[in-house]
Symmetry: C2
Subunit: 363 residues, 2 copies
């Protein structure tokens, strides 16, 4: 039989009255070749979504939806985030008054990227607003890896710091994975540690922290009364920071989850089956109206700046979802800006508070 397999890569077996075609890779591999376990395909490929928008189908869709007058409900992330921050402020002041302890967040900023400086500035302001103590360690782009590791070690050893984060991206010459692995699990408020991700994915385990943006997406759904258990959910994009943990989190809430990526064929057809669509690709207007099932709930994580002379800032933000079309099909949708964005910082504050509560056994 093996001889036959080696000749033809396939053999017909006769067992009783039945016949089977039997696959074999011996013809390809050769029984004496050096064993090579299948290497994991890298996900670090250029995810080209540009081909995904189907203009023709779009046209017919536009026509058939002209009559639809009812707009989707707005999921107001700004208002919900404000509500959460005020709840956090209440808890922080309660913690201070009852056990004389204050949650503390430390941020490491390396280099002088303007956008990173703004993000860090906003996080610090948000901490101040709710009464969380914050520290920033700024290092110049030319600093050594040792200086970064020392700064992290100081934060890690400081008992008054309950959350530590490294503002990303780091300057390219640094080994981001190595530096992030220096963060202790119990202070990893960004929740990016593989062990946190594994515990988020695994049955019967609890991650210490849920990454902020996915946690914010779930909060938006939960606080808007959207049912998740048993629903079809589609997550578009599979980044470590948003797509992956959001899909794991939705599954943890018993949704039936499909993750779409740039290698997905007919993504709009699959997306149209979903009750909940989370778009986290970073490609403006990728998700057109014909990607949505009427009545779907849409969470748009994308924020893409485009020039806009008419705005004070000179630009405006676009999401992954073509809002003008989606709002006519969905039952509820987050706007960009003012949807998921404000939730991310709120969840960072919440993770820091929860970390402090865990340390002090404060409920």
């Amino acid at each position: 039989m093996l001889a036959a397999v080696l000749r033809r890569g396939e053999v017909t077996l006769h067992i009783g009255a039945r016949s089977w075609r039997v696959f074999s890779s011996l013809a390809r591999s050769g029984s004496c070749r050096i064993l090579k376990s299948p290497t994991l395909v890298s996900l670090d490929l250029h995810e080209d979504w540009t081909h995904k928008v189907d203009e023709d189908r779009q046209k017919s869709f536009d026509i058939q939806n002209k009559s639809n007058q009812l707009d989707a409900a707005l999921i107001d992330g700004k208002a919900i985030a404000e509500e959460i921050r005020s709840e956090i402020a209440n808890e922080v002041s309660w913690m201070k008054s009852s056990i004389r302890k204050t949650p503390g967040l430390a941020v490491l900023l390396v280099g002088d990227r303007r956008d990173c400086q703004i993000y860090v500035h906003n996080k610090i302001l948000a901490c101040d607003e709710v009464g969380i103590r914050s520290e920033v360690s700024e290092l110049p782009e030319c600093c050594s890896e040792d200086e970064i590791l020392n700064a992290l070690t100081n934060f890690n050893e400081n008992p008054e710091i309950h959350g530590v984060l490294v503002q990303l991206p780091l300057p390219e010459r640094f080994d981001e994975e190595k530096i992030l692995s220096m963060l202790p699990l119990e202070k990893d408020v960004d929740g990016f540690h593989p062990s946190n991700m594994g515990n988020l994915a695994m049955e019967g385990r609890e991650p210490l922290f849920i990454p902020c943006t996915p946690k914010g997406c779930l909060e938006l759904l939960l606080r808007s009364g959207v049912e998740i258990m048993g629903k079809r959910a589609v997550v578009i994009g599979r980044s470590n920071i948003v797509g992956l943990p959001t899909s794991l989190l939705l599954q943890r809430y018993h949704a039936t989850v499909t993750v779409l990526h740039a290698f997905t064929k007919n993504p709009e057809r699959i997306s149209r089956e979903a009750d909940i669509v989370v778009a986290a690709v970073g490609m403006p207007n990728l998700v057109r109206g014909n990607w949505l099932k009427p009545g779907a709930v849409v969470i748009d994580v994308g924020t893409y700046p485009v020039e806009d002379p008419s705005s004070d800032s000179g630009y405006r933000l676009l999401g992954d979802v073509c809002y003008g079309e989606a709002v006519k099909v969905a039952s509820a949708i987050t706007p960009v800006p003012g949807g998921v964005g404000p939730m991310t910082v709120a969840m960072l504050l919440l993770n820091t508070l929860e970390s402090a509560k865990r340390v002090y056994g404060f409920c």
Copy 2:
């Protein structure tokens, strides 16, 4: 506006000419309630699949398929596992002759469960067959947790042991999670450590080990020449040991993956969209013919013993897939037994070999 929200839980905003229904949970939460972050829903629920089989649809399916004469190709796990074991044996003897080193596997067996004893016995025999050194530490059911931890510490400190596994299930009184966390990442050949799972899930990261059964499923697909990238894959079941890592692995190979579980509505409809179906539930014949798209590739991980006086052992094994029906619809299918089963032990040997190669820098 907030007053209105509190009264009605929903408010209508007028912005320019547009009107929006705005969700708010203030009515439910109350702005002064104590903050409670959404707790993660436990996955430890009874997953009742019994309602999933639709007898009526089944009947019509049987009729419409009567005419189909072409049976699916058999993916012969037994033959492929034998081939892999012979390749491992070649590499082990090559390692011995070139660097005078031998891969070593240690197994901890606690208690006297007959099935566990048989599994361990088979693993040791398989090690012997390919020339991998093996050690078993047997502890009585009445042993203390310290005795277990000491046995693991000895394995962990032994430089000639490259893989350590704890035969599961442990007697109920032990904290399985705590004991498994004692395994060092670099010897966790079962790949169950959350950090391994996180690294399997995350873009740009590599797990040290891929859990054996999922790795075996992928080997079956790859060695049978089944294309994965861009295909729709459905994984039925989401256990930490099979379903979850298999879904992560298929996604890593760029399939578009949907995970079905007991809370999935119309699982057969979703399953029928898949080019690749991996069934890992442990419910015999759950996956009927009408769960499959004609031409789908089916990997059946289930093994469920049922009494069978006609067999020497007094029982026979059933898979999750109704083989008699599936073989008439699928293009390729694994049998039970003789499909995935033999691959699991082969992958354990492969993980142990790869661990030793990593330690000795042997390529």
